[in-house]
């Protein structure tokens, strides 16, 4: 259970750090699916798919549906929203800088920008 000591965001990133698991999430985004339905597009064995599903379940990205026979898996978006919010803070920090660059480009002296061309009056 050592893995559970990771904070939720790290668990989410760990779960997302595998292309097959991202593929499973993409598949589940278009609707619930059971293990045999998830096996088809990936050409992987049932134990392999089950192993990936276990990682996704531990990260809270996938939950089991109500149908006890089929055991369909369903996508849970809450952890992805946490990642989204986390990235948004980083994005805002850069956007504040880029907004400043944007303003500067609008008033930047033309002579420096275009070398070897005479400065035009505006």
């Amino acid at each position: 259970m050592a893995m559970n000591e990771l904070d939720p965001l790290s668990l989410t990133f760990q779960a997302l750090a595998d292309p097959t698991r991202r593929g499973i999430l993409a598949r589940l985004a278009s609707g619930d699916a059971d293990v045999s339905e998830l096996m088809k597009p990936f050409a992987l064995s049932q134990p392999t798919i089950s192993k990936h599903l276990k990682v996704l379940e531990r990260a809270g990205l996938v939950a089991r549906g109500r149908d006890a026979q089929r055991r369909p898996r369903t996508l849970v978006t809450a952890p992805l929203e946490d990642v989204d919010r986390w990235l948004e803070a980083y994005r805002r920090a850069w956007e504040a800088r880029f907004a400043s660059l944007d303003d500067y480009l609008a008033r930047m002296p033309k002579k420096k920008a275009v070398k070897g061309r005479a400065r035009r009056s505006r």
Binding site: F13, R85, W94, L101, D102, A106, M108, A113
Partner: protein, 169 residues
């Protein structure tokens, strides 16, 4: 802070987009209404960098740029804010600029700026390539800490978004 708040909202195509293209990378994409030579020069001449690097628009306290492979750069904002320093690796005006910088863990992170012309505009792609996934996540996290005020502001904005909105869009 004054300014055009609306231009920074997520989903607005004028604003920066951030994605994680691989385990060790962060990609930031932003469109600028200027030709790419101007955007490239704005990144590589101290007399330009000093006027925009600090989001407060205050001129930098120091800005040194030795624009050649293995040349150093140092952008130092006033008020004791952290400096941005590194070494240029590749300089191809006006399309590409590669630099390396050392992150908190002591590991090297490589920044690649790609300037693509789109009509009279420029699409800037900044890829930060870290040595490991934990370095990348630390880099993302550091920003969150450094911008606590912005984070809170962002959180307020995020909470105002419709709950049904899918996270991946």
């Amino acid at each position: 802070m004054p300014g055009d708040r609306a231009s920074r909202l997520p989903g607005d195509d004028r604003g920066a987009r951030v994605t994680l293209p691989s385990e060790c990378e962060i990609l930031i994409v932003r469109r600028f209404a200027a030709p790419r030579a101007a955007v490239f020069d704005a990144w590589t001449s101290p007399e330009h960098v000093t006027h925009w690097w600090d989001p407060s628009r205050e001129p930098l306290a120091a800005c040194d740029i030795d624009l050649r492979p293995n040349g150093r750069f140092r952008f130092v904002p006033g008020g004791g804010k952290p400096a941005f320093t590194g070494v240029y690796r590749e300089i191809v005006r006006p399309e590409r600029l590669v630099f390396s910088t050392v992150v908190a863990s002591g590991a090297e992170t490589v920044g690649t700026l790609r300037f693509d012309a789109d009509g009279r505009h420029t699409i800037l792609r900044l890829t930060m390539t870290c040595a490991s996934q934990s370095d990348r996540d630390a880099l993302l996290e550091m920003r969150v800490d450094a911008g606590t005020v912005r984070t809170l502001e962002n959180l307020g904005e995020y909470l105002e978004r419709p709950a049904s909105r899918p996270a991946s869009s």
